[in-house]
């Protein structure tokens, strides 16, 4: 702990935390000792360690690498391990809820199955050729395809964009920004062989054509990726394939 953090005054804060399960629930209030530079994840952990061991939530790395600790903090989906109390709440109310658009298992823990099922539906996996490649594929880092893939490749599947997307809320079948971003990076992988099959999977009312380009995904992504740009790319690829009669 740094000198600055040591000297920060600790005060008692009221924190509202959503408690419940898939059948329903409500916000419970806790009084928690807090510092402005404390993370939201620390506060939740303090509640579990000192007030209610039954509080359920999820985390793993605590350093912004795994994306497991995503929750809704004062209305915005965020990584709680990289969110400081002082930045989101100041002296005001702090309200922590599970991610939106996903079924709640218990308290702050969501069922991510639907989210990752959509990655599968979007053909979000690499399809190589069946036999061993005759030669190692050479992909120039400066090629347009590699640059396009690079722009979206750092997604760690935290679900923040999915929870922030209005269209997911309106159309539960919608594949969502993360799955489509994954499909876009694979569509730009010159070694991949599933081009048309993937475009068939992502075109349509539940796919890229449902996106309104609101850019909530880009606004909320903790990795500063822009799935909307990738989705626009998929729309262009799908239009080209439709004109050629491939999809």
């Amino acid at each position: 702990m740094t000198q600055a953090q040591d000297s920060e005054p600790e005060s008692l804060r009221t924190v509202q935390v959503w408690r419940g399960d898939a059948t329903g629930g409500a916000f419970a209030e806790y009084r928690v000792p807090a510092r402005p530079r404390q993370t939201i994840l620390d506060l939740v952990t303090w509640i579990q360690r000192h007030i209610d061991p039954g509080l359920s939530y999820r985390y793993a790395c605590r350093v912004g690498m795994c994306g497991t600790c995503a929750m809704t903090v004062n209305g915005r989906p965020r990584w709680t391990c990289r969110t400081l109390l002082g930045t989101v709440a100041g002296e005001g109310t702090l309200r922590i809820a599970p991610l939106a658009h996903l079924p709640v298992i218990k308290d702050l823990a969501c069922d991510m199955a639907a989210f990752f099922d959509k990655w599968r539906r979007a053909e979000g996996r690499f399809h190589g050729i069946d036999s061993v490649e005759p030669e190692i594929a050479v992909v120039s880092p400066s090629s347009p395809e590699r640059q396009a893939a690079d722009a979206g490749i750092e997604c760690i599947g935290c679900g923040v964009c999915y929870a922030a997307c209005d269209v997911v809320g309106w159309n539960p079948e919608y594949l969502g920004p993360a799955a489509l971003n994954r499909a876009w990076t694979l569509a730009n992988d010159v070694r991949d062989r599933a081009g048309v099959a993937r475009l068939k999977a992502v075109a349509g009312d539940a796919g890229c054509h449902a996106c309104h380009s609101h850019q909530s995904c880009a606004d909320h992504c903790p990795k500063h990726l822009n799935p909307t740009r990738g989705i626009a790319g998929l729309k262009r690829l799908a239009a080209r394939a439709a004109l050629k009669g491939e999809i």
Binding site: V167, W170, N171, L199, K200, V202, A203, G204, D205, G207, H209, K235, A238, A239, A241, A242, L243, G245, I247
Partner: protein
């Protein structure tokens, strides 16, 4: 509706939007210029009647509207009313045809009348 149809509808809406962008600018500029000199309706009609250029311009404008608007309305109907299926597709088509007929009728009235 298939992914191919959705992709083609998306393309049609983008293409018609590009046409509309141009047409709306010309339309607004014409209105502003026409009213500055204090033209009456009769004087405007005298200029538009028998003008093939204006007839062609507004016929294209109407076509772009008839393509663009129903596709957007279809999306709104799906998201806000949960309306899907053949009835929605037929209603979308009917809205497009109605817009085209009403629009072209108005163009004919101004150019031929």
């Amino acid at each position: 509706m298939t992914g191919r149809a959705e992709a083609l509808l998306w393309l049609a809406q983008r293409a018609s939007a590009a046409v509309l962008g141009f047409c709306v600018l010309v339309h607004l500029a014409t209105i502003v210029l026409a009213v500055q000199g204090g033209l009456s309706a009769a004087e405007i009609l005298a200029r538009t009647q028998a003008s093939l250029a204006w007839a062609a311009f507004y016929a294209v404008f109407v076509l772009a509207v008839a393509v663009h608007a129903p596709i957007g309305l279809r999306t709104i109907a799906r998201e806000w009313l949960g309306w899907r299926g053949r009835s929605l597709e037929l209603t979308t088509l009917a809205a497009g045809i109605a817009l085209a007929i009403l629009g072209w009728r108005a163009v004919a009235g101004v150019v031929l009348g």
